[in-house]
């Protein structure tokens, strides 16, 4: 009897001992992430141009917060406080599935790299805090400047807690379907007339035999319709008479633009292209060094005075953001270029 009592006491003590072994961990802090009060967005007013994919980077400083953080746009509203369904509801947008490399051999190959997904038109990247606006956002239903635009808040969370950043402003500009464009960013109206070719070398005038200046050539960019997917280059003289593109005999025709099925006539050269042009800000043979703009260059060589070889170049850095049949015309406003040998 007595023994049993002792044994049970012994058992209780053993149990207590086992409890002591395991109980110590309880008061230790849990491994929550840090959410620093010094984390902040360095930009609070965002002004994308509608009609293009726009990414706002380097706009957040995590400071002492632990990564990854999660971000969410909340309370997206118009400036007057009304709800803004045009920015909160999902729209079908074109997204890249595989990377654009510049070596694609056909339109189909390019299109195979893209697909359509439903996204809100203005999003925040979940863990990086970058903002992005999809090209589907157009000024016919999204409020563009001079409207005051939209106001929204951002919620930042991690396992250490949550913080709110308030009253970000989104003030989109109207679309500018092509660049270089002379359109006023706020009104969208063409204000001043002339766009000059960015690449212009060694071109002499046929009449005066002097070197022409780039300001004597005006670039006219025009969208013929919304349905096609071609890009046509034309060269015209001061009277709008066509100049035969074949005169630019030294041109590397396949690399003028990343397009396919080139059709070259006596009046124009056209390519089937995918939009936007360039497709990505990736340096390729069709773009400038940064990959930001497409580069179309037309060349010819001629024998100048004194048996000098003159290599002439005429070209343009440009971007096209909307689908359609586009036409880019180089208008020699003063005189025709001289193609013949001296």
């Amino acid at each position: 009897m007595d023994n049993k009592r002792y044994l049970s006491l012994f058992g209780v003590l053993l149990f207590g001992f086992a409890f002591a072994i395991t109980a110590c961990k309880k008061n230790l802090p849990d491994a929550r992430l840090s959410l620093g009060s010094d984390s902040q967005f360095t930009t609070t007013v965002y002004k994308p141009v509608l009609g293009r994919n726009t990414l706002f980077s380097n706009n957040f400083n995590a400071a002492s917060s632990s990564l990854p953080l999660s971000f969410k746009i909340i309370n997206m509203r118009r400036f007057n406080g009304d709800p803004a369904p045009e920015l909160t509801e999902n729209f079908p947008v074109t997204v890249w599935k595989q990377s654009y490399l510049g070596d694609e051999k056909s339109l189909a190959e390019i299109e195979a790299k893209r697909t359509t997904e439903n996204h809100p038109l203005f999003e925040i990247r979940e863990h990086s805090g970058q903002f992005l606006m999809w090209a589907k956002a157009k000024s016919d239903f999204v409020r563009a400047q001079p409207d005051s635009g939209y106001v929204f808040d951002v919620e930042m969370t991690n396992s250490g807690g949550r913080r709110y950043f308030k009253n970000f402003k989104l003030q989109p500009y109207k679309e500018r379907p092509y660049e270089l464009s002379a359109a006023d960013p706020i009104t969208g109206q063409i204000s001043s007339g002339y766009i000059f070719p960015g690449i212009f070398n060694n071109i002499r005038g046929e009449r005066t035999n002097r070197y022409l200046s780039p300001v004597e050539v005006q670039v006219l960019t025009r969208k013929v319709n919304d349905t096609g997917n071609s890009l046509t280059f034309k060269f015209v003289d001061s009277l709008y008479n066509p100049i035969d593109p074949n005169k630019f005999a030294a041109t590397q025709w396949p690399t003028v633009v990343h397009g396919f099925d080139m059709v070259k006539t006596n009046e124009a050269v056209s390519y089937k292209v995918a939009y936007p042009v360039p497709l990505a800000a990736y340096p390729t043979i069709y773009t400038d060094g940064s990959g930001q703009a497409a580069r179309a260059v037309f060349r010819y060589d001629r024998q100048g005075f004194g048996n000098v070889k003159e290599s002439a170049q005429l070209g343009l850095y440009f971007q096209l953001f909307e689908k359609g049949d586009w036409e880019i015309t180089f208008w020699f406003r003063t005189e025709r270029p001289k193609f013949t040998n001296d």
Binding site: I21, L33, K97, S99, A280, Y282, P283
Partner: protein, 1065 residues
């Protein structure tokens, strides 16, 4: 030991009465007493022999274990020896008897020391483990702590370096500090080495002697100056209850070292000599000569941007194209110039004798080890003596003096890391070997650098004990230690821009220590006359004073290599340096401590202690630190209701709680520092140094431990088990905190961080064979599991990053996680094809590094780094918490088998759950980034040797599923840096099992040896560092820094083979 003295003392008293007790029919019985626990079948001197009823001492064995007593024909002889099972034998008319005494393996009877007072383990409440000196003899080592590896659960020893005389890192129960200094491969964790107490004297084995501190001076630890042959036992105290009375430095645990004493009436002379070979471990294989040239050419031709550019590059690189040039047409094995197998020796002579009244010991030792790297080594000479005089039971005098001289050669390195050797050994095989006509700086500096270090340590102790009245004893202990260290380093002109350079250093340290202890013992007997209520109380004061000063002079302009001097500080005042170094200190500490312990029939034990500490480096506002501790113990096997269980030898439960401290910082952290400033009105000014803000509230680091333990022995001690679990909280961790630049001061040192270690330790010992068996077999194993959690950071922040500027291998401190987390890029394989690279759905661009250049985008063959924040750009926002550099499970296993004259022992240790950053492998891959050996400024650098990559699964062509990225793509490697150090690709599992030693020994027939006047002669063969089982791809999972970084500059651990000889005259 104490009982031995008492018994022998009693015996002496009875000796005088021997004749009176003598009776008729006596015969003379002769014989020998053999120690069955000694693997060499040694004899036991001074064994008490008793006979009669009641038992009375009738004699004792002499120094050779022989005895001769005169007894009745039918008498029963009883042989008693402390630490051994008492043996009874009936004479039955025999005149020659050989007795084997079995060691008493009951660990509870071991005498453990806690707080300068000896207790049996049965009545001690703390967690401690005793290692006998016998276990520490087989492998010759410069530092005795190397041999504790894997022997004590919870004592984590990593032999990070094979450099002779430098010891590896030691930590008891996990991390106790968070401070990291340096960066890259030279990032070091501030060590938290336990306090050593040698024969009752705390030894300052401070930070300049150990792994992690490379500074001026020889850096020979005082512990390295103790010869292993002179050690009687070592005890590791783990919890705060055991260490609390060691106060002012005991927070990181305490290791007690007891040296040998004389205990034989007839002087015993023991000689122990060992001859050992340190063998170079497997070094890395390299591609030599033509193979290297072809590989480089092939790499350029296949990986460059165009064929013609590649051709130009090959033709423009003379060591590739000019293969007929004798200078570039070599196949040199560079490592062979730096590493060699060495032959070493150690000798030790021990003379001891005496009895309880007077005993003495003198130990004369010589140790000589040359390192496997050229021009490195460690020598030690020592003469240690002690004596004890106890004319009666009231008075005791002990005096000891230990003299030692340590010499060390560090070669061209700092003793721990030798980057010169690492770089030289990694040179391209195409370069010519050093010869009569060519010289190579790295070889010259490794071999011709004249580095000579000397440390002299003199340690003298006097201890007096007097018993005023029965039970009340005063013990006064006084110790003076003098340590002087010098270093002379000479760089010949050839390797120092044609001017020889001379550096000389000397330091002096003296320590005075005094302890006065008043102890009182009292017992109340119960009705049966047995001691029932036992009280034991003591108080002591402790005073410690240390002064240290180091001076150095550097002469950068010697005359030539032959005239090494004169050293004057002013040959060129711009370049020459000299003066007292700023690590000068004077420190004082005082303590008052008390302990009270009570037990009831050794069944219930209560232990209370309290300690006040004052320290000169404490801030004036910090005051005295109070360290309480309390412990209880229940030896439940003594309970009546369990007494029927025959299989239960002993069993006990222990619970303890206590705290302890270790002082922090220097007096300058507390009071600030004045420095001389600019002239003002033509007069010099004195300013406050604005580098460090004084913190008058600087506290010592405090360690609070809660320990629960369980001891059990079953089946007549054939199985014994110890289990401990603990919760160790380290508060007031010392850190330097940078201040905002709006302050006048740059930084302040504070005690704001805290961490917790919790874990489990178990130790099992089994003797599978019965004691009657001719084979004596013991097997034991221990394991310790430790987890650490960071619980508080300065200013209450939740995380803090220690950014590593050199290799990017940053350390993350985050509250709630393990204290030191690697914060690096996460690599999840290699992109097999370009289609595997993630694409930004918005922009159509691939994942990239930094800028927008075409080469910045990831391609097939690049490492698959995790994009943590999903912005398709790899930058420092994508670092992840990836691993723990601290071992979480450590332990060891050992076995001992003895049969007749042969004995065999083996011991291994293991470390599990540890992450290692393999920087050596990363840098081997990185060499391929630069096939033409051009640095970023366009200058030719020394080409480095290429290692064969065939062992590694690396990416070669699109579609390959590889582990390692494409090593040959040198055009992009500067941008992508695929073999960057800071990535999980090079973070490997550092678990290992190492067979530390295997020993076979043989005792030569004593009949034979005695003919030549030799009492015992035993020979042994030992191999140490035998092999390592590990998943780690580097050479050794142990030879890495305390932060788990394996750099190629490390000093490999040699494998040694030892022939040992022990002779006793």
């Amino acid at each position: 030991m104490r009982y031995l003295y008492i018994i022998s003392f009693l015996f002496l008293l009875f000796c005088t009465n021997e004749k009176l007790m003598a009776q008729q029919k006596k015969i003379i019985v002769k014989g020998t007493v053999i120690d069955k626990g000694d693997k060499n079948d040694g004899t036991l001197p001074s064994v008490s022999i008793l006979s009669g009823d009641p038992l009375k001492p009738i004699g004792m064995t002499d120094g050779n274990g022989n005895f001769s007593v005169s007894v009745d024909e039918n008498a029963t002889l009883v042989f008693k020896y402390i630490g051994y099972v008492t043996h009874k034998v009936e004479v039955k008319g025999r005149t020659k008897i050989t007795i084997s005494l079995n060691p008493d393996n009951n660990q509870l009877k071991e005498v453990s020391i806690a707080g300068y007072v000896s207790k049996t383990k049965e009545t001690s409440v703390g967690s401690s483990i005793i290692i006998s000196g016998k276990e520490l003899q087989d492998v010759p080592v410069a530092n005795i702590t190397d041999l504790l590896q894997g022997k004590v659960a919870g004592l984590n020893i990593q032999q990070n370096t094979g450099s002779p005389g430098i010891r590896g890192s030691i930590a008891i129960r996990g991390l106790s500090n968070l401070t990291i200094s340096g960066s890259g491969n030279e990032a070091f964790l501030t060590p938290t080495t336990p306090l050593f107490v040698v024969d009752g004297i705390p030894v300052d084995d401070n930070s300049s002697y150990q792994y992690g501190f490379q500074q001026a001076g020889p850096g020979i630890s005082p512990i390295s100056l103790i010869p292993q042959e002179d050690i009687a036992n070592m005890e590791v105290l783990k919890d705060a209850s055991a260490t609390s009375l060691y106060g002012s430095r005991g927070a990181y645990g305490v290791i007690l070292i007891t040296t040998k004493r004389g205990n034989s009436k007839i002087p015993v002379i023991r000689y122990s000599g060992k001859f050992f070979v340190s063998a170079v471990p497997k070094l890395r294989s390299v591609i030599g000569g033509k193979g290297e040239r072809l590989l480089r050419i092939d790499q350029i031709m296949t990986s460059d941007s165009s064929y013609y550019h590649a051709l130009g590059l090959v033709n423009g690189t003379e060591f590739l194209s000019d293969s007929l040039n004798a200078y570039y047409n070599n196949s040199t094995d560079w490592q062979s110039y730096f590493y060699k197998t060495t032959y070493n020796q150690t000798h030790n002579l021990d003379i001891s004798g005496g009895d309880q009244t007077f005993n003495y010991k003198a130990n004369l030792g010589y140790f000589d080890q040359s390192g496997i790297q050229q021009n490195t080594g460690f020598n030690r000479y020592n003469l240690n003596m002690n004596m004890q005089y106890q004319p009666n039971s009231k008075f005791k005098l002990y005096a000891g003096i230990n003299n030692s001289l340590g010499k060390q050669q560090k070669g061209s390195g700092n003793g721990l890391i030798n980057n010169g050797v690492a770089e030289g050994g990694a040179s391209s095989s195409l370069l010519p070997a050093p010869s009569q006509f060519t010289s190579v700086n790295s070889v010259l500096s490794a071999i011709q650098t004249d580095n000579d270090n000397k440390t002299v340590n003199v340690n003298s102790t006097v201890e007096l004990q007097y018993e005023f009245v029965k039970g009340l004893r005063l013990t006064s202990n006084f110790n003076y230690t003098y340590n002087t260290a010098t270093e002379d380093n000479f760089l010949p002109a050839a390797i120092n821009n044609n001017v020889p350079s001379l550096f000389t250093y000397n330091s002096v340290k003296n320590t005075v220590y005094n302890r006065n202890l008043l102890a009182y013992v009292y017992s109340i007997k119960d009705k049966s006359g047995e001691d029932a209520h036992n009280f034991n109380a003591y108080v002591f004061t402790e005073i410690n004073s240390a002064n240290y000063k180091a001076d150095a002079i550097k002469s950068n302009k010697g005359v030539n290599d032959h005239i090494r001097g004169p050293i004057i500080g002013v040959d060129n005042y711009v370049t020459s340096l000299g003066g007292t170094l700023n690590d000068f200190y004077q420190s004082r500490s005082v303590a008052l401590a008390g302990n009270f312990s009570y037990n009831y029939k050794q069944k219930y034990v209560l232990d209370l202690s309290y300690r006040f500490d004052g320290n000169s480096t404490n801030g004036p506002d910090a005051g005295y630190t109070k360290s309480p501790s309390v412990g209880v113990r229940w030896n439940f096997n003594k309970e009546e209701f369990l007494s029927k269980l025959n299989w239960l030898e002993y069993g006990s439960l222990r619970l303890s709680y206590g705290s302890n401290i270790v002082p922090n910082g220097t007096i300058y952290d507390v009071y600030g520092k004045y420095v001389s400033g600019n002239l003002y009105n033509g007069k010099p000014t004195v300013n406050l140094d604005t580098a460090r803000l004084p913190n008058t509230n600087l506290q010592p680091t405090k360690n609070t431990t809660l320990n629960a333990g369980f001891d059990l022995a079953l089946f007549n001690n054939r199985i014994s088990l110890t289990f401990d679990t603990y919760y160790k909280q380290v508060d007031n961790i010392f850190r330097t905190k940078d201040l905002s630049n709006t302050n006048s001061f740059k930084s302040v040192t504070t005690n704001e961080a805290s961490m917790v270690n919790y874990g489990y330790e178990a130790n099992v010992t089994a003797r599978p064979l019965p004691s009657s068996s001719k084979v004596n077999w013991t097997i034991s194993a221990n394991i310790a599991i430790n987890h650490d959690v960071l619980t508080h950071l300065p200013d209450g922040v939740r995380q803090f990053i220690y950014v590593d500027a050199t290799t990017g291998q940053s350390i993350l401190y985050r509250v709630g996680l393990n204290s030191l987390s690697n914060f690096i890029y996460n690599t999840k394989g290699v992109y097999s094809t370009i289609g595997d690279v993630p694409v930004d759905p918005l922009t159509g661009l691939r994942y990239r590094i930094g800028g927008n250049g075409v080469l910045n985008y990831f391609q097939a063959g690049d490492p698959r780094f995790t994009d943590l924040n999903g912005d398709y750009v790899l930058d420092n926002q994508d670092l992840v918490v990836a691993g723990n550099s601290q071992p979480q499970i450590t332990g060891g296993i050992s076995t001992f088998i003895q049969y007749k004259s042969f004995s065999f022992s083996a011991q291994g240790s293991f470390t599990l759950k540890r992450d290692i950053l393999n920087n050596a492998l990363a840098s081997q891959f990185q060499i391929f980034n630069n096939p033409t050996a051009i640095d970023k400024n366009g200058n030719r650098i020394l080409p480095q040797g290429l290692v064969p990559l065939s062992l590694y699964n690396y990416w070669l062509a699109s579609g390959d599923n590889a582990t390692y990225p494409n090593p040959y793509d040198f055009t992009r490697s500067k941008i992508v840096d695929p073999f960057r150090f800071a990535q999980t690709l090079f973070q490997e599992d550092g678990s290992y099992f190492k067979l530390n030693q295997v020993t076979l020994s043989y005792l030569i027939n004593q009949k034979f040896t005695k003919r030549y006047g030799v009492n015992r002669l035993n020979v042994s063969l030992t191999a140490s560092n035998v092999f390592m089982i590990s998943n780690y791809s580097g050479p050794s999972a142990e030879n890495v820094s305390a932060l788990g970084r394996d750099s190629s500059g490390g000093y490999p651990n040699p494998r040694t083979y030892t022939f040992g000889l022990n002779v006793e005259f």
